[in-house]
Symmetry: C2
DNA sequence: TGCTATATAAGAGCGTTTCTTATATACTTC
DNA sequence: GAAGTATATAAGAAACGCTCTTATATAGCA
């Protein structure tokens, strides 16, 4: 795979961005330094990186794909209010046994836990507005 | 909430479809009996059902939302080849402890396990084509 | 039966992803 | 270092899913 300025910038952007960005967000992020990179190149490149194992694609409830530069084994919290996706780590989750009937009919290559609910910020926002005088 | 022919048909279609269909798939499914139902109505109605707790929205890796009429606590296998999503049940998963540091910063309302890999059909398809003489 | 709040159809609009094609360029070969 | 070639990119079009707008229809109530 060729090394191009676009690819370097895209990879750097994903690492710097930190969160779980969409192709569009990476495109905007990069635009500061390289305004002429096309969204098509960003999207195509992110998928190439995914195919090479440099990035994960994060589970979501429809909508645009979100990419994840964190390649350590980890899991996610999804906030139902603000849509934020937060990493967490859990040995219990990593070591959780897979049911035998699944193992018979399916080759498991990846195991992820998704917890949905309300994040701390949204909790606080709710408290502040909800219980005043 | 009013009972309308469209809503009845959409609910029936989701139950009959069985799998984890998209709004568009339900729209096509219904078209056999009711060709004049709009995709907008299907989509809006599916979301209403979701808000009422009749349906779940299934986690996916981008792309259109997929709905799930199975309201029992269960988890999913995602086939990387054919994109199929298969239900499975696991007490170990349901009882898995949530890390304390998560509980401090997040109100967990739903817990799902997603296993990605290769389903039996894709396995067999691969065998048949891959290792012949 | 008639009324009214709610639901629907149709099409427009929007954002994301993919496709097409001409142009540019990273890497190889000499 | 120069030339050649396979690969990558830009730009715009197109496809797709989802949402919004507005005029019309209708379910359920009085
Ligand atoms: Mn992550
Ligand atoms: Mn399911
Ligand atoms: Zn939140
Ligand atoms: Zn499969």
């Amino acid at each position: 795979m060729r090394i191009t300025p676009q690819r370097s910038a895209i990879y750097k952007a994903v690492l710097e961005h930190g969160d779980h960005p969409t192709a569009s967000e990476i495109h905007k992020w990069i635009a500061r330094d390289m305004p002429h990179v096309s969204i098509d190149t960003v999207n195509r490149t992110l998928h190439s990186f995914h195919d090479m194992g440099l990035l994960n694609i994060v589970e979501g409830e429809g909508g645009p794909r979100r990419f994840d530069p964190n390649t350590r084994s980890h899991h996610h919290l999804h906030c139902d209010r603000c849509g934020k996706i937060i990493d967490f780590y859990s040995d219990a989750a990593d070591n959780m046994p897979i049911p035998p009937e699944v193992q018979n009919d399916f080759i498991v290559e990846r195991k992820r836990i998704v917890l949905s609910g309300i994040c701390r910020e949204c909790m606080n926002a709710n408290d502040a507005s909800g219980s005043g005088t």
